[in-house]
């Protein structure tokens, strides 16, 4: 398949957050600002690309009945690697994403892609699938983070759009996460149904 199509597919057509509704916990939990949302998206993308590559590489060496545990081990390995690198070189980001970094392990996007895509496709296709889906996830998280940051405190990536007094704090807190995502998905539903 055309590599660009694979990426388009992950980014838009099968966007993991807005269309497939996977990985809701990090989506809600790490989008207090555009920056944290994007970081989480990129971190997940990294693991996803690696695990997709590794899994499609070893797919024929793994008997069917143990494939799930095997995939989990692969994914967990890359997550742990990510954890180590972040703790060593990006300690602040590591602290702000907190528990959601180890929880990438259980993000259904990863296992989902391993099962639905990487275990059936070539290494390079799986790599591009990882990039596409990962960027789709990153896009969604960044978008949600940006919306919450703008509505909540009036900035986006720290850039001030309007004075902080006019921000609705609720958007950087738990309820705002649900509400903002709800309306975003509704908007996307609306647009999709129109076109």
């Amino acid at each position: 398949m055309n590599k660009l199509r694979i990426i388009y597919n992950g980014l838009i057509a099968e966007n993991p957050t807005f269309v497939l509704l996977l990985g809701m916990c990090p989506t809600l939990g790490t989008t207090g600002s555009a920056m944290t949302g994007m970081s989480m998206g990129l971190a997940t993308t990294g693991v996803l690309i690696c695990s997709n590559i590794a899994i499609s590489a070893i797919k024929s060496l793994v008997p069917d009945r143990v494939r799930i545990p095997a995939y989990i081990v692969v994914i967990a390995t890359f997550v742990t690697l990510l954890q180590m690198f972040m703790a060593a070189y990006l300690p602040e980001l590591n602290a702000s994403l907190g528990i959601f970094i180890p929880l990438i392990v259980v993000n259904c996007i990863l296992l989902g892609r391993a099962e639905a895509y990487a275990s059936k496709h070539t290494v390079s296709d799986s790599c591009f699938d990882g990039i596409g889906i990962g960027l789709g996830f990153t896009l969604a998280l960044t978008l949600l983070g940006a919306v919450r940051e703008i509505l909540g405190v009036g900035t986006v990536f720290g850039l001030r759009l309007f004075p902080e007094t006019f921000g609705s704090l609720v958007f950087v807190l738990a309820p705002g996460a649900f509400i903002a995502l709800g309306f975003l998905i509704a908007l996307i539903n609306y647009i999709r149904n129109r076109s």
Binding site: G29, I72, T80, A174, P175, A177, L181, L187
Partner: protein, 193 residues
């Protein structure tokens, strides 16, 4: 005693796992369409979460830390949880077929439920002792079940009203979760003692 009470109140109301910590959202959105399945899922999570927290705590303090393998936490925990769920499934099927009927369908879903792994990691991060960890796990699961049950009631209600088309399904469910999170914020800052 007071610490236990405080752990319980905090885990159920103040820092509800779904509404404040954003863990276990997928089953929360996925298994809350009917009240009966919501309660079944809640019970299954309580079962697994308590057991998993207990076992992973022992693994952490008995194996990983003494041997300097702290960096293996994530990989070991997820494998322990996966194995545990498998074993539970087999055991329950053997000794309590009735329970299996009720919980069985939910068990496989739980392996990838981040709430279980999340709680296992959180109790280590918070430096809780074994007793506190178990109480925390049970209370968190109660909080999860409560959230699920309330949400299932709400979604059964929504089935019978005229939700505008683009809002139907997940969007309105998320708005409801937002409203619930807002209501639960009333408990913020509750301190016992």
């Amino acid at each position: 005693m007071l610490t236990y009470l405080s752990i319980i109140v905090t885990a159920i109301f103040v820092n509800n796992i779904v509404f404040a910590q954003f863990l276990g959202i997928c089953p929360f959105l996925g298994v809350s369409k009917k009240l009966s399945s919501a309660v079944g899922m809640g019970a299954a999570v309580m079962f697994v979460m308590t057991l998993a927290t207990c076992v992973t705590w022992l693994v952490q303090h008995g194996i990983l830390e003494p041997w300097g393998l702290g960096y293996m936490q994530t990989i070991v925990f997820i494998l322990v949880i996966a194995a545990l769920v498998q074993m539970l499934e087999i055991i329950i099927k053997k000794i309590a077929p009735g329970l299996y009927q009720a919980l069985g369908v939910f068990l496989p879903l739980i392996t990838t439920n981040c709430a279980v792994l999340g709680v296992a990691i959180l109790v280590i991060q918070k430096g809780m002792n074994l007793g506190e960890s178990i109480v925390y796990a049970v209370a968190t699961a109660i909080g999860f079940t409560l959230a699920l049950a309330v949400f299932a009631g709400i979604r059964e209600h929504l089935r019978l009203v005229d939700v505008p088309a683009p809002m139907r399904g997940i969007p309105i469910a998320l708005i409801c979760a937002g409203m619930l999170a807002m209501a639960f914020m009333g408990f913020s800052g509750i301190t016992i003692g």
